[in-house]
């Protein structure tokens, strides 16, 4: 039986590949891409006022999302925070990534890599909660700042920016570190042997080679910020973001919520296409 089967597969690479890929691709194409299509279709639904049943199709939700001032302001605010978080994380991540990749001794390097990796996925919710307690009126931050005559940020836009920068930071450090690690040390020695001061080597050799890795990291900081609604809920006060509007509406007005998700999908599609052109995909 085994031999007969083996004979059937022998010399038929397409059949072999197809058998291996059928289940995972079926799951992802039918299950996941199918769901995204359903999401897109549901944004055209016209629901009955009372019944909540689908009564037809309409462009009304798209019209509201893309023309009404409130939604436009929320979209711009969310994209703005995502951009600010991405820039902040790139600035914070670069020095530590550079130090780990090019200056730390092997032992320290591996300790630092583990130290950055461990909190990468851990307890996203707990991290937001930790900041909620830190930023609270009687929290640790005000305990430090009050004696200096200062006051920490209240729950609101700045707190959301701060907490998101914190949470997504490891997602930026790791790709930049891996990207810098790939730059041969000899390239840096060659640059300084040819008389370039460190600043010059950094700008003309390190940065151009590390740039695609920074873009790769930014995909995560940007995307994760765009869709988050837990951070705004816990530290955002009454400030609204795309995620919070989608979450608030999905039970009562699914088509509107679905139409609003096209904003992050559109932004991320453009972002991913640009990132691919910049060569970031080799660093994912």
């Amino acid at each position: 039986m085994g031999r007969r089967l083996a004979g059937l597969f022998h010399g038929r690479p397409r059949l072999q590949a197809g058998t291996l890929l059928a289940a995972p691709l079926g799951w992802l194409v039918i299950g996941y891409l199918g769901s995204l299509v359903v999401l897109l279709i549901s944004s055209f639904w016209l629901l009955g006022e009372l019944s909540g049943h689908i009564e037809g199709t309409t462009l009304e939700h798209f019209d509201r999302i893309y023309t009404e001032g409130v939604y436009r302001a929320i979209s711009l605010r969310t994209i703005g925070v995502a951009a600010a978080v991405t820039v902040t994380d790139a600035l914070l991540a670069f020095p530590i990534a550079f130090y780990m990749a090019k200056f730390a001794r092997p032992r320290l390097k591996s300790v630092m890599v583990v130290a950055v990796l461990m909190p990468l996925w851990s307890a996203y919710l707990v991290k937001v909660y930790a900041w909620r307690t830190i930023l609270s009126e009687d929290g640790a931050l005000n305990w430090v700042l009050n004696p200096l005559g200062l006051h920490g940020p209240d729950y609101g836009l700045f707190a959301v920016y701060l907490v998101m920068s914190y949470i997504w930071l490891p997602y930026m450090i790791i790709p930049i570190y891996a990207g810098l690690e790939r730059i041969p040390d000899t390239l840096l020695s060659a640059s300084s042997d040819l008389g370039a001061p460190p600043g010059h080597t950094f700008r003309r050799v390190v940065m151009p080679l590390a740039f695609p890795a920074i873009v790769a990291g930014s995909i995560f900081t940007f995307s994760l910020t765009l869709g988050d609604f837990i951070t705004p809920e816990l530290v955002g006060g009454s400030t609204q973001f795309i995620g919070s509007v989608v979450y608030d509406n999905f039970a009562s007005n699914l088509p509107l919520a679905a139409a609003f998700t096209t904003v992050p999908i559109l932004v991320m599609t453009i972002y991913l296409l640009t990132a691919r052109r910049l060569g970031a995909f080799e660093h994912l």
Partner: protein, 283 residues
């Protein structure tokens, strides 16, 4: 690249500054969990381990914990199966659209969680007419867990030469025997690492969970979210938060150890750390 002593000092300072920035909030919540006061006061007036005991006795938290374990275990099993099949197919064959497979696997985690959540929710409830429950939650979790298994296994297969498999076939082994006795043993630690990471990812997830969990059911993060706004639960919430941190950090650490040892055998100086970092962080 030789830095001046001052430049080197500044770089080192900012590197450790960032590391401190990452850990201080986790440390603060760790200290808060032992705070004797029932409210969030800083600094804590006195310390106690009472809240951990109360957290273990809290039936809501315990049920949520068990529900999280069950969800993560099933989702991990599915992801392990689908992710390793996809990795084998992509790494061992050349075909049109091969790049698209990698992209498709990453997509559920590259798109904002809210998109994945609401898309699956409307498919389950509006198209398939399913009631939300363990089944829908597990399907959702498995979908975004595939990528971590896939990344770990494909990284291993890339380093593993196909000549072992060819030798096995030349010596008369059936494809099944080759898979069982050659490919699988070589993939074992990558599978374990992938499974640990998938488990941690599922255990910790909240955004997609909110959209796909059944009415009245709670995972541990969902329990936390529901109890943040209840002041009388506050000390127990802090203790549970610390437990969640530990349970999601430990699998990541173990997965890193597994992939690092194998990586350092292949590339002695530092290369192992990179390979492991990439495999662990890969989304």
């Amino acid at each position: 690249m030789r830095l001046s002593a001052r430049q080197h000092f500044l770089l080192r300072l900012s590197a450790f500054g960032v590391l401190a920035f990452i850990y201080i909030p986790l440390l603060i919540i760790g200290i808060e969990a032992f705070n004797e006061a029932r409210t969030l006061t800083w600094p804590p007036p006195a310390f106690t381990t009472e809240w951990f005991q109360r957290a273990f006795e809290n039936t809501g938290a315990r049920d949520a914990f068990l529900y999280s374990l069950r969800t993560a275990a099933i989702a991990t099993t599915i992801a392990l199966f689908l992710g390793s099949l996809a990795a084998l197919g992509v790494s061992r064959f050349r075909f049109f659209g091969r790049e698209a497979v990698s992209f498709l696997v990453i997509l559920p985690i590259a798109l904002p969680g809210i998109v994945t959540g609401i898309a699956l929710n409307s498919t389950f409830t509006k198209v398939l007419g399913l009631d939300l429950g363990l089944l829908t939650l597990v399907i959702a979790h498995a979908t975004f867990c595939i990528v971590v298994v896939y990344n770990n296994v494909i990284a291993r297969l890339r380093r593993l030469s196909t000549s072992f498999e060819e030798a096995s076939a030349d010596l008369g082994a059936t494809p099944w025997q080759t898979a069982r006795w050659v490919t699988l043993p070589n993939m074992r630690t990558a599978l374990v690492a992938g499974a640990l990471l998938a488990f941690a990812l599922s255990f910790d997830e909240i955004i997609v969970t909110v959209f796909t969990i059944g009415v009245g059911e709670e995972t541990l993060p969902q329990w936390l979210l529901n109890n943040f706004s209840r002041p009388q639960q506050l000390p127990i919430v802090n203790a549970v938060a610390v437990i969640v941190i530990l349970l999601s950090i430990i699998p990541v650490y173990l997965a890193h150890r597994l992939t690092r040892e194998e990586g350092s055998a292949a590339a002695p100086r530092g290369g192992g750390a990179v390979a492991a970092a990439e495999a662990t962080a890969a989304p």
